[in-house]
Symmetry: C2
DNA sequence: AGGACAATTCTTGGATACAAGAATTGAAAA
DNA sequence: TTTTCAATTCTTGTATCCAAGAATTGTCCT
């Protein structure tokens, strides 16, 4: 379908943005990227153009591309649109979802619950001990959280039988806010983490019952409340789109410390 | 914000696609485009990459970019998403719209009504006289229809106070289906044309009354019924995504005859 | 020390070069 | 006449080149 090299490059750059290695505000120099991926600047430029069109970076004439930082308003707006679209997807999925997909959702949900319990334990410990750092296990659990959460929602998008809808939702999520979500869950206490779990259980229940309106309502509420939590977290911790954030260099132990690990001060 | 030349080129190519000069299935050769716009292939390639990301063309490795033809399924899916999003926009707009915007809507609506009356007259004549060709006046009226229709909806998007939402809707509309809409209205009889008018009047009424749910319902119904009409028309007339359509060369009189003017046989 | 400004170095944007692989053409065979 | 297949011609993908304009540096002045 699409040209191979360029979209691979775009993919890799996008991942580094999502991972926090290229934080919002970071300048993306074509020559450096070209050297890093061992190609010439030509395909890099096209990859950057692709990311620009997707809204992940912004380019001004004769200036380096810059990783764009969503404003608080962007985040709020995006959640509002997401709630609507994921609600529609759930409504449709309630009709079209197969038993196999429902089984897969339950399985995914179980793994999600595990990740949440791990996170909740660590979060409780972090509250007792203020000096607690971001441990390897905690990052791994956070990563598992995002992965299983995405998988859970993904099944709904797949089941809605409307590719355009799922593509639109996907674009919205992959946009600028993915790394923010990852940042946010580290700020959830045990209670808030488990609330997400009950949301998902309710969604699962409505879908299993093929309750069209109920599934929609459950998903809309879930997304809206998640959005509200994210916004509250950001209002407390987010540097905002104007502040230039440090590029994260690999640590002594080789791990990357993304910008958001420093936000909780 | 964005680099100048490349997005200008993308814009021009997009317009030619919407105007039917580059019909679905048409190969876009970089060298030809470069010559046509008097630049080198480099910026052309980036413009094509941009259009690819927006979904207007598709590129395979070492093959010319091709203007993508939406399948019937694509069109149906897009209308379903549009109905949902424009419904949300209307719901929000009912709260935020200003009196000035409402006045502007009424004005736009008046011009829309004029275009429809012109079209309805020509459509009635065309039914009496099967040999009637697509006249200049009729094209102009069709063009006025799309313009004022877009303006009408645009005011709602602007008034919804959610830029992300209006951008998402805009992307959806500008995508592949813009030229199809233009094609479709030529297939509307006088009754169907006037039905659109009453839809718009109802929307205007609900917005003026600041009726949140009513505005939503009016817009959703409007988009859904429009979508159903478009789909029915396409089922009768659309060549489909697989058939290669002729590139439209300027006629003897210099006018372009887009692919859809030949569809009504 | 700190700020203004000129010289220098980077970095980008567009053009061009060239190799690899499609598309096309034309001749020969069925 | 139609089909097949090799030779030829186009077209794309990546690298490289160069000029124009940012960003940076260093110096001089206050």
């Amino acid at each position: 379908m699409t040209a191979k090299l360029v979209s691979e490059l775009a993919e890799k750059i996008q991942q580094k943005i999502a991972a926090g290695e290229f934080p919002p505000g970071h300048r993306l120099r074509q020559e450096l990227l070209a050297k890093e991926f061992d190609v010439s600047r030509t395909p890099i430029r096209e990859a950057l153009r692709q990311l620009e069109t997707k809204g992940l970076v912004s380019q001004s004439h004769r200036k380096s591309a810059v990783v764009s930082a969503p404003s608080l308003r962007d985040v709020k707006e995006t959640y509002q649109v997401r709630a609507e679209l994921e609600g529609l997807a759930a409504e449709l999925a309630a009709t079209w979802i197969t038993d196999a997909q429902l089984a897969l959702m339950r399985e995914t949900h179980a793994r999600f619950a595990e990740a949440i319990e791990t996170l909740a334990r660590h979060s409780a410990k972090a509250q007792r001990d203020k000096a607690a750092r971001l441990t390897k296990q905690m990052s791994a659990a956070a990563e598992a959280w995002t992965r299983t959460n995405a998988a859970f929602h993904r099944i709904i998008h797949d089941a809605c039988d409307n590719r355009r809808l799922s593509a639109t939702i996907h674009d919205l999520n992959q946009g600028q806010i993915r790394s923010i979500m990852l940042a946010t869950i580290l700020g959830m206490d045990a209670h808030r983490l488990r609330l997400t779990l009950t949301h998902h259980e309710r969604i699962l229940g409505r879908l299993s019952a093929r309750d069209v309106k109920g599934a929609r309502e459950a998903v809309v509420t879930h997304i809206q409340e998640s959005g509200e939590f994210v916004v509250r977290w950001l209002e407390r911790n987010y540097p905002g789109p104007d502040r230039q954030m440090q590029a994260s260099k690999p640590d002594a132990d080789g791990s990357i410390r993304p910008w958001w690990t420093a936000a909780d001060d």
